[in-house]
Subunit: 327 residues, 2 copies
């Protein structure tokens, strides 16, 4: 069953197929809508959700042949309430249909019984081909699409509550080939307030979490050498990336903070294995609102494409310069 | 404006009015449904959501005159997908309408711009009286009820990403009288893997977080002496509660882990101020499925009431024995 392929192997294959290590974050706000969609969003509730949906699906489609994965952050959809979450589901369905790896940026974390409930809601949505849905009865359509959030190939998780809060996701997700990116060192300025604290052991809190992550993923490493349990390590901490890579040799890295948050392509190089795989770098705002510096909105999809191509080139160049490009 | 009253003062007033420090966690699973509702849940999708809704609203109504607050955990609704989240909203609306303090157990945490999006989705739902809705047009109904999740009086938040991830919630919530409970020391066994680690400073990670929480709430302390920024400290760590109370003197404590998770009434006493206020103790499973040991399900609402009354008595006795009952 294609879906049950090991997550690390699927991510690795998608990176090699697209010859890209970029992930596009789908984090929409009203201020990002190009003029035509912004007008529509002002035409009452229906217009708002139609514009939000058109924008997100338009971006996903525009970049679908250029990058291995997309990462919708559920917060930006929850901000628009329950209909916003329906748009989130459409984004996941469409991205999966286009063959993209779907990383649900949900940052969940709770005690065991609650983590199991989250895992049910976020990991059990069926993956279907949209073309198979057009001739179905409404009942069968509902069965096929489901009401659960997703489909997701991977989720982001918060480690503050320890292994209880992560294991239920792994237990439910592993047989289905799902992956997880655990927050280790995040890209925001105040990540230092907790994550950088020195422990009595000599390690920092984030380094200790890196050890936990490595352990959680140790018995599920795919043929690619990548585990199904990965780590979020921000691009805004280039000096530390090599250290985290050392602590989590098999973990796929999800690296946020490139672009709008200030991280550079050269700075993310230490996250990668010697052959240029093992990590993906996320950009959201710089792709979604590329039209603001490129054409003014008449061709917002083209602008997003060009920004994704530029990001691919930027990362390729940085990796090549470091002798790490092998795609 | 009643809604903008300081959260600490509202919680304190609700505790004094009900003469109770108990919170009922609304964490439904199919296995908790009494036989009649379990049968209905098997009659296809509509039956499932009707049964889930009847159960949750029935529990909220049954305990509404006995406790100051309810705490629906969104995971258990997300487990049933988007329609499950509609039931979550019904629970919040009904509880608010019955005058209960609504603590949304959502455990959110993300970087600043994302935290602001979550805050919009979770804090902006309007609080309305359900009786005012019955004669409204569909459009006006929609305006009044909104599509956002909630209404919430307070939210639980995860501190792993530092103040960036908490401040946007406080900024948006403070003018509206909202409160926050930050995870400090959670009730699950593996909380020790991260939260109990000794820092080079001599404190543990959770003690350091307690210091952050105290700082985040320092400039928003109400007339009751309680801050709008509180802490989650588990009942499963009675020896540590006094230490956390010392570190966060003004924080309202939300204490999970009583009952099904093993925490005792005597064990939670150190969470309280000398007059028996300043903290609330949550129980979920022991109230929701009280019918299993009391009547077998014909009177599941009565069983929940009796379990809540017993819990109130249990906590009152433990606080009285310690000379801390002042309600």
């Amino acid at each position: 069953m294609a879906d049950a392929t090991h997550f690390g192997d699927r991510l690795d294959a998608a990176i090699r197929e697209k010859k890209s290590v970029a992930v596009v974050g789908i984090d929409p706000t009203l201020a990002m809508l190009p003029p035509e969609l912004a007008r529509r969003a002002e035409e009452g509730q229906h217009g708002l959700y139609a514009a939000l949906s058109d924008f997100c699906l338009g971006i996903v489609t525009a970049v679908s042949d250029l990058v291995p994965a997309v990462k919708p952050n559920i917060a930006f959809f929850e901000a628009f309430g329950m209909h916003g979450l329906s748009v989130y589901k459409s984004v996941c369905l469409t991205a999966a249909d286009l063959g993209l790896v779907v990383i649900g940026d949900v940052k969940r974390g709770d005690i065991g019984s609650t983590a199991a409930a989250y895992a049910q809601g976020l990991l059990d949505a069926p993956k279907v081909h949209l073309r198979d849905l057009s001739n179905q009865s409404p009942e069968r359509f509902q069965d096929l699409v489901g009401v659960l959030l997703g489909p997701h190939d991977a989720l982001t998780l918060n480690p503050y509550m320890g292994s209880d809060s992560v294991q239920p996701f792994i237990d439910r997700g592993k047989p289905a080939g799902k992956g997880f990116f655990i927050l280790v060192k995040t890209s925001n300025p105040s990540s230092k307030e907790l994550q950088d604290l020195p422990l009595a052991s000599g390690r920092t809190v984030a380094e200790h979490v890196a050890g936990l992550v490595s352990g959680w993923g140790a018995d599920d490493i795919g043929d690619s050498g990548l585990s199904s349990v990965g780590a979020v390590v921000g691009a805004t901490h280039p000096d530390e990336l090599a250290r985290y890579r050392e602590l989590m040799p098999a973990a796929p890295f999800l690296v946020p903070g490139y672009g709008a948050q200030g991280g550079s392509a050269a700075g993310v190089v230490p996250a990668f294995h010697q052959d240029g795989t093992g990590a993906v770098v996320n950009a959201s705002r710089s792709i979604l609102q590329a039209w603001k510096n490129d054409g003014g909105g008449d061709d917002w999809q083209g602008a997003a494409r060009r920004a994704a191509i530029a990001m691919n080139g930027d990362l390729r160049e940085a990796l090549s310069t470091a002798g790490k490009w092998g795609l």
